[in-house]
């Protein structure tokens, strides 16, 4: 791709961007949200047409007018949100839209699609029948089905947009190995990720975009976390991660016998100190989010005995938890954290409307004042308090979620995957906010599947496996190896029991 330009009404998304990918090369494409990564890839995938520049394939200019063209040229796009039909089986998904016909009535040649799908599934190391319905598969497996589809199209270039954002650590590792395997088979990969550890692991080259332009390139030997971040933000970020602290008041928050409806037979108990960030690591499905929901009263068949300071709290609903200053920033920002069709103001005030009302009638001026305060103090990039949340970027949406809780002084804040899909700059700000909140005497519980985040942001780490805490690691013992061992259910010497 050479000198690609694309403008949208009001914004220049890409301005003279070039990208080269060699055969069998893995190129990581990095950049903050809005840097133009997705636009560039959508042009390559035939979704958008460039306003300027040209695309060259094997040295000859080509025109990719639509997605079908892209397929023909061997370009496959694996989106962050999976495009699978989970009511159909594996083979039907792989052959969706190009089913081989049998006979004159447009019947699907079922035998052929299953027979043709099987080798691809095997090549990816998936041990499932091609007749399995997709909703029976894990997210990672569904993603592999998408990759199988890409391979079955004889793709020469696979674009992966944040492929690991919803995968467990193990699944992530397998995917990274797979990418390296594809490379050996001569398939090129463009890998978009905010997780610089992964980029470091697999990329032959890193291309960084900033504000719709090429910001720089790093060869295999030059790749380092700091250099990528430096290129992405165009300046040095000093102290990207936050300093660790020792809890001011240990055991300020005591959670006993927390039980979720997912693992009804198992309970979780732990303590967290005032001023502490307690990380929760584990594989997806270990029950971390479920425990969080149980603590804040969102699990009707679960629950927990929660003591804050010396006070034993009665929590039977989210309302109760909020009344005690215990807030949850859920994993699914758009589905659970925000009412995206409402304005920033309405979202920020939603849990605390009582404060803005007299005689049941809401004072919009008071609401606006609080919203403006949060917009200013969290530096939320928005045209104003009345802008709809759905028009904001992921990082700014997350700040709105934080703002809605910060405006009512949290005592305990549970953050579930707080920086998923958020660009580096906003990530650093969110870490800083978490630290500040802890320093102001809050208790922070941070659930994260991003290993770097767990390692660098938490003061202590609780590791969960299949519904229980397998151990708690003090800061010096927090290593990737220790966490992984606990996450798969092993016991290790360095780990402390959850409650002593």
């Amino acid at each position: 791709m050479r000198g690609i330009g694309k403008r949208f009404p009001g914004v220049v998304a890409l301005n003279g961007v070039s990208l080269e990918v060699g055969k069998g090369e893995v190129v990581a494409l990095c950049g903050e949200n809005g840097a133009g990564k997705s636009t560039l890839m959508k042009i390559l995938g035939g979704v958008y047409q460039p306003d300027a520049g040209e695309l060259l394939l094997d040295g000859a200019p080509v025109k990719i007018a639509n997605v079908t063209d892209a397929m023909k040229f061997g370009v496959a796009f694996i989106h962050q949100e999976l495009n699978v039909l989970d009511n159909l089986d594996v083979a039907a998904n792989v052959f969706l839209g190009r089913e081989p016909r049998l006979g004159p009535f447009g019947l699907i040649d079922r035998k052929k699609i299953h027979a043709d799908t099987a080798p691809f599934i095997k090549r990816l190391g998936l041990d499932i029948s091609t007749r399995t319905r997709l909703d029976k598969l894990s997210l990672a497996q569904q993603q592999l089905v998408e990759i199988a589809k890409a391979l079955s199209l004889n793709s020469r270039l696979i674009i992966m947009d944040e492929p690991t954002s919803s995968l467990t650590l193990q699944e992530t590792e397998r995917l990274l190995e797979l990418v390296l395997g594809l490379k050996k088979q001569g398939v090129s990969v463009v890998y978009i990720s905010h997780r610089l550890g992964e980029v470091n692991h697999i990329a032959d080259r890193v291309v960084v975009l900033r504000d719709g332009k090429n910001a720089g390139e790093l060869n295999r030997a030059e790749i380092s976390h700091d250099r990528i971040v430096g290129l992405m933000v165009g300046r040095e970020i000093k102290s990207f991660y936050v300093e660790s602290r020792v809890a001011k008041v240990p055991r300020y928050l005591q959670v006993r016998n927390a039980r979720s409806s997912r693992y009804p037979a198992k309970t979780v108990s732990f303590d967290a100190g005032k001023g502490e960030i307690l990380g929760f690591a584990g594989l997806v499905g270990a029950g971390r989010s479920e425990i969080a929901k149980a603590i804040v009263g969102l699990d009707e068949r679960g629950g927990a005995e929660v003591t804050l300071g010396t006070e034993r709290l009665e929590i039977h609903s989210a309302r109760d938890a909020i009344g005690h200053g215990i807030y949850l920033v859920p994993e699914d920002r758009r589905g659970e954290g925000l009412v995206t069709g409402m304005s920033v103001r309405e979202n920020i005030t939603l849990p605390s409307l009582d404060r803005f009302a007299s005689l049941f009638l809401i004072s919009r001026e008071r609401e606006r004042k609080t919203a403006d305060e949060q917009i200013a103090s969290l530096r939320i990039k928005t045209p104003g308090a009345e802008a709809l949340v759905l028009n904001l970027s992921g990082g700014n949406q997350q700040k709105v979620v934080l703002g809605k809780w910060l405006s009512i002084s949290p005592k305990v804040m549970i953050l579930d995957e707080p920086t998923r899909g958020i660009d580096v700059g906003a990530k650093a700000e969110i870490y800083r906010l978490m630290r500040e909140l802890a320093d102001d005497g809050g208790v922070i519980l941070m659930i994260s599947s991003d290993m770097e985040e767990v390692l660098h942001v938490s003061d202590r780490v609780a590791v969960m496996h299949e519904g229980r805490i397998t151990g708690i690691l003090e800061r010096p013992d927090c290593t990737e190896e220790n966490i992984m061992n606990l996450a798969v259910g092993k016991t290790i010497a360095a780990a402390k029991p959850a409650v002593n």
Partner: protein, 314 residues
């Protein structure tokens, strides 16, 4: 706000065109009559609109009108209840049935369409059964004049139902657009999960919308019974729910929930009834009544969609 302006303009244009083509449209008799009908239909449309805003639907309105009508007539003429008791019981029955809908939807996670469709069938059947399929009237009932006046009299020269609609609309405007409860309704309609995570008792909010719909259907049920003055249980109130849904949709409510306004619902109702009036006055065969209504709803919503779509692209 844009939506309301659009449909207000449409309403105004319709009125002007009708008035020019047939001056009878602006005769006092016709105006009073149309206003009366707007009041009758508007009240239950308000409640139905609220349910639609939570992302639900209420198909049982018409049957519930038949049931309340039959109950009211029988209570007054056959059981000789005093009118305040009869009216209260009828409204209470209506609210309890609304509560049942709300419970099934919010607590038992049933789909609103199914719950209220069964309501539609059930209440029609019950109404016909208790009336023994006979038409019930109010002749012979004594001392019901205050109620009759309340339901079909005039207030300051304006038909009572219209006056009641105005009052309820003002109240509901504050409730939906200015109160905490209203904000919760809109939030629950948009994203029930997020509302729940913000500490809102979403089940209560959803169920309450059905209860309010029951209340309003009960009130308009009484007025409609006195308006028709006789209640034939097999066809009294037929299709009323569809009028209400059409009015709410014309007025900018989205069947996906989370969107809608009181002014829109009221203007939507007015638009539908002016249309009916127009069909009569312009000599269009009354058999085409529903066809005209359907065409206008399609046109209105489509125009809105195109208008909005263009706004977004720009």
């Amino acid at each position: 706000m844009k939506k309301e302006i659009g449909i207000s303009v449409l309403l105004l244009v319709l009125c002007v065109v009708t008035a020019i083509m047939n001056p009878k449209f602006i005769s006092p008799v016709n105006l009073v009559n149309t206003a009366n009908l707007i009041g009758l239909y508007g009240v239950f449309s308000l409640g139905l609109g609220l349910v639609i805003i939570t992302g639900g639907i209420d198909l049982s309105v018409g049957s519930l009108c038949a049931l309340t009508g039959v109950l009211l007539a029988m209570a007054l003429t056959e059981w000789h209840w005093p009118w305040p008791l009869a009216a209260l019981v009828v409204i209470a029955v209506s609210m309890v049935l609304g509560l049942a809908h709300g419970w099934l939807v919010a607590r038992m996670n049933m789909q609103p369409f199914i719950v209220t469709l069964c309501g539609l069938l059930l209440y029609r059947g019950i109404a016909r059964f208790i009336a023994n399929d006979g038409t019930k009237g109010f002749s012979g009932a004594e001392g019901i004049e205050p109620l009759r006046h309340f339901a079909s009299g005039k207030v300051l020269g304006v038909p009572a139902p219209f006056a009641i609609l105005v009052v309820l609309s003002v109240v509901m405007w504050f409730v939906l657009h200015r109160s905490i409860y209203g904000r919760y309704l809109l939030a629950v309609g948009r994203n029930e999960q997020a509302a729940r995570f913000s500490g809102i008792n979403t089940r209560f909010i959803i169920a309450s919308a059905y209860v309010v719909a029951g209340l309003f259907t009960g009130i308009s049920g009484i007025m409609i019974a006195f308006y028709t003055n006789s209640v034939s249980p097999s066809n009294h109130g037929n299709f009323y729910e569809l009028y209400g849904i059409a009015a709410a949709v014309l007025g900018g409510c989205s069947l996906r929930g989370g969107e809608g306004s009181i002014i829109g619902i009221v203007i939507g109702t007015a638009l539908l009834l002016v249309l009916q009036n127009l069909v009569n006055l312009l000599g269009i065969p009354s058999s085409l009544n529903f066809a005209v209504m359907g065409a206008v709803v399609i046109f209105g919503v489509l125009a809105d969609q195109l208008f909005q779509g263009r706004g977004r692209k720009r």
